[in-house]
Symmetry: C2
Subunit: 206 residues, 2 copies
């Protein structure tokens, strides 16, 4: 079996293939970097059509990263997929509370999802300026509510929950808010997609 073994070649070739297959579907440079990384992580070209980036969202996200903000993720999977070395170089921190035993206890008592209770706690952290939601619509609904109530004004919401119950609706709510966001319309998204978006931003800054 002969195959490419150099990871840099693999990534370079992958992005060339993606650009080629996108054909006449082109994007502004930075938007393109994000969307191509989403396709790279899913092999799903539909992301070229369903990704929506609000005006100024990339600048706002990059500025928060440059300030060394904290990033909250709704799943340990998204957290695991985000490049830790790049984060460290920017003095950014990342955390996820969904597995916190306190959160689990409180969620059970209140009949809420752990994602909602975790989001409640994260939204109170002043340094947390980027919210990355790749899984739980309930977390995104919750965040929208905090935005409405003026309790939180994120620098960027990467809101790409996946699924059949609430995912689409939660993203429809997000795009109605006056907040910098990157999202995917409809059902698709997920933890790997969320991580890909954040990594694309991190690599722009390095």
């Amino acid at each position: 079996m002969e195959y490419i073994k150099d990871p840099r070649d693999i990534e370079k070739n992958s992005f060339e293939i993606i650009t080629q297959e996108l054909g006449e579907k082109t994007f502004p440079e930075r938007e393109g970097k994000i969307i191509k990384r989403m396709i790279h992580t899913t092999a799903d070209f539909q992301y070229a059509d369903i990704t929506k980036i609000s005006k100024g969202a990339i600048d706002s996200g990059l500025a928060a990263l440059k300030e060394g903000c904290s990033i909250y993720t709704d799943t340990r999977m998204s957290m695991a997929g985000i490049n830790k070395r790049a984060l460290k170089q920017m003095n950014c921190e990342i955390y996820c509370l969904v597995d916190d035993p306190e959160v689990a206890k409180e969620a059970k008592e209140r009949g809420l999802t752990r994602s909602m209770v975790a989001m409640e706690k994260a939204a109170k952290e002043e340094k947390t300026k980027i919210f990355v939601i790749g899984n739980a619509p309930t977390a995104l609904f919750q965040l929208c509510q905090y935005i409405d109530e003026g309790k939180k004004l994120p620098s960027l919401v990467v809101g790409v929950p996946v699924g059949f119950v609430g995912a689409r609706e939660s993203k429809d709510e997000l795009i109605r808010r006056n907040v910098p966001y990157i999202t995917t319309l409809g059902r698709k998204g997920g933890s790997t997609v969320a991580a890909a978006i954040v990594n694309a931003l991190l690599y722009m800054n390095l």
Copy 2:
């Protein structure tokens, strides 16, 4: 905003929607559970067409889980997505070596991917009977080679690397081996898909 907040209801409703939209496309019970969980995690119905499960693979995987085997994953993302409580109940362990500093050093010296060196180490562990590859074609190529050389005979290979360089080819190699496997033909797959397959097996056993 009104939305379903009970996580059990969310999952139940999701699987009902998936079953409904699959329509006349039906599967044997256990295959169906796996495929529907893959769709659940991606919102991508193409998985109904591209998923290939070798004869006896589910039985072989379940038997290894019942024995309390170790599971190797090629990424921390897949590891993060697999249900730890379910694993613990079955006395199974899970690990990933791709971030191991020794592995990184050796990969650099030998001009290989970290995934390949990590796979080399994992294949030597006798207790490791299930290999979960959601990201790195190089890891799957490597494993195929060990199978050919009789160095490793896994109880199950969950081989679903995603991407544009080597992913399809590595899976084509896998299905030519006489080894129990679950795979996705073509480019699609990924860490979330890999985790979904393992979780579906774990939930069958509980």
